[in-house]
């Protein structure tokens, strides 16, 4: 079994520094965040350029090439609603360290992104949702099945699809948490890989609580079979938790300095 895959979330246009960097085509802030995340142990980096309706193609190609040139072809998750930008990004993407991942497809309007990934030999994140939050796990798993079938018809290997159960905020949706964990378990029992935006769970909670909430959630989710997550790798408690889960599950061998690796 592979180690838990950590996707770094910090290159996101929601951050003013990144938005400015993209607008000015200045790599400084982007490289700084890429370096911090890689030093902290991220395996993949998510690159969110926003909707980028106008110049998405150009932005995505610029940012993919810049990051991969600077960081030894680090594998990337291409994150935008602009399909043409994703395709353009894949065209210039170097896959020596791992396939590009399309973020994301869902069972609704964005289901074609599965075909986009298949046509370009990319992986995809497949969000188990159609319109809004699924009401229960029957609905979630129906979407999961639909997307799996779509992918296989398009010639994808199931292992190139990362199913996202949709992590939900704890504060306010406490009663839905067990359901999400059970969905992960069902996805895992189907032999499928999974991922998700982990920090959703601690949204709106005081900053001091977030590392604890994220860490405990990820540990419980890993026990249910979660194989990767989109996280803030600079959160040391969270990364220590993930590394410890890998040790407990025998995916990596224990040594006194295992947290330093």
């Amino acid at each position: 079994m592979d180690k838990f895959m950590v996707i770094g979330e910090r290159i996101h246009c929601i951050s003013p520094a990144i938005r400015k960097a993209i607008a000015e085509r200045d790599t400084t802030a982007i490289f700084e965040r890429a370096r911090q995340q890689l030093d902290a142990g991220a395996h993949y980096l998510d690159v969110n350029i926003g909707p980028a309706e106008k110049d998405g193609v150009e932005i995505m190609q610029w940012v993919v090439q810049a990051i991969q040139n600077e960081f030894d072809n680090v594998p990337l998750v291409l994150d935008t609603a602009n399909k043409k930008a994703i395709e353009a990004g894949i065209k210039v993407y170097n896959r020596s360290k791992g396939k590009p991942i399309v973020n994301s497809a869902d069972a609704g309007d964005r289901i074609d992104n599965i075909n986009l990934a298949a046509a370009n030999d990319a992986m995809t994140i497949a969000l188990c949702a159609k319109e809004g939050i699924p009401s229960d796990n029957d609905e979630r798993m129906m979407y999961c099945q639909e997307m799996l079938e779509r992918g296989m018809e398009a010639g994808m290997e199931p292992e190139d699809m990362l199913f996202d159960p949709l992590f939900l905020v704890i504060k306010g949706m406490q009663d839905k948490q067990i359901q999400v964990l059970e969905a992960i378990k069902m996805i895992s029992e189907m032999g499928l890989k999974s991922t998700g935006g982990l920090s959703n769970v601690s949204n709106g909670a005081p900053k001091a609580l977030r590392p604890t909430m994220d860490s405990v959630t990820v540990a419980m989710a890993i026990q249910c079979g979660l194989t990767s997550a989109i996280v803030n790798p600079c959160d040391k408690i969270l990364m220590d938790t993930i590394k410890t889960c890998d040790v407990i599950l025998g995916k990596t061998l224990y040594a006194d300095s295992y947290l330093e690796l």
Binding site: K3, T252, L253, A255, D256, S257, E260, L261
Partner: protein, 314 residues
């Protein structure tokens, strides 16, 4: 149904470490499959077999060893030369038994002189083993590494207690190779490699000595330790365990009663030397199939047997 051949592919690969210089230099490691599984992929460099000598007279081992090496008298350098010319080992392991503070406690200077003379008398790579006293060995390794700069020797070995001195002096300051010793403890094996790497020692300069036991004396722990190291190194692509393994078989196999008891002590057991060789060969063969990239043996017959074994396997 027709037979379909499947190969087990691993993502990781054992690094390659070169010891010695010139034509006789040896390279350990390089495999990306289980030992000798050449049908699955790249089996790497042939495992190497070296012979043990020491800074004292061979008569300390037994009368028969003294007789075997009588031509060399009590001269360690002559002994080394004799061994190279007569038995053609892949490398020679010089062990400083005499440096032990609880034994003859020879000075570091005296040992360095012996090491220099031995290194100058041979063309095969030199592996230097200590007295098993951590503090003395740290001093000894540091000075031998300095004196033999350029010879690309392997220091056997750095332990948790002295890796800083041995690693810093041996590998960083004087460019030698260093073995990291853990006594059949897989977690310590990984930890020592991490510590050595954090010290700045490059992966290509580190060999692992994961420990040994004579067959019948807990060897199964050695075997399972090596299995787990290889599976982590290859299967989990764990870079902190991708160093080749050297095993000093003779240090253990000649110190158990099957090798030590004289014929007078155990008349039914037969010839003592033959017993020793049997213990050594059984242990060394078990180590090679468990994953050792190099083994140290004591008797020339064991060397011959193990070389034949390796050559017929790959």
């Amino acid at each position: 149904m027709a037979y379909k051949k499947t190969a087990k592919k691993y993502s990781g690969k054992i690094s390659q470490v070169t010891v010695g210089t010139g034509e006789k230099a040896i390279t350990l490691g390089g495999k990306n499959v289980l030992p000798f599984y050449k049908f699955d992929g790249e089996a790497g460099n042939k495992p190497k077999v070296g012979i043990e000598i020491m800074d004292e007279s061979p008569s300390e081992w037994s009368g028969e060893f003294a007789e075997l090496y009588s031509e060399a008298g009590n001269d360690t350098a002559a002994w080394a030369k004799l061994v190279e010319e007569k038995y053609a080992p892949d490398f020679i392991c010089l062990r400083f038994e005499g440096a032990d503070p609880n034994g003859k406690n020879k000075s570091v200077e005296e040992c360095v002189e012996v090491a220099k003379k031995v290194a100058d008398s041979i063309t095969v790579p030199l592996v230097v083993a200590g007295s098993k006293n951590n503090d003395k060995d740290a001093e000894l390794f540091k000075n031998v590494a300095e004196a033999l700069q350029g010879k690309n020797i392997l220091l056997l070995a750095a332990k948790e207690e002295n890796y800083k001195t041995v690693g810093a002096a041996g590998a960083l300051a004087y460019g030698q190779k260093v073995a990291a010793e853990s006594s059949v403890d897989i977690n310590l094996a990984k930890q020592l490699n991490i510590l050595m790497s954090q010290l700045g020692v490059k992966k290509e300069d580190i060999v692992m000595n994961v420990g040994c036991a004579a067959v019948g004396y807990g060897y199964e722990y050695v075997s399972s330790t090596m299995d787990r190291i290889l599976l982590a190194a290859l299967g989990q692509n764990d870079e902190s365990l991708q160093m080749p393994i050297i095993t000093a078989v003779s240090f253990d196999s000649w110190s158990v009663k099957e090798s030590l008891a004289t014929e007078a002590d155990e008349p039914q057991w037969g010839n003592q030397m033959e017993r020793g060789i049997h213990m050594e060969v059984s242990t060394a063969a078990a180590c090679l199939v468990s994953g050792s990239d190099a083994v140290v043996v004591r008797h020339p017959k064991s060397l011959e047997t193990m070389k034949k074994f390796v050559n017929s396997m790959m």
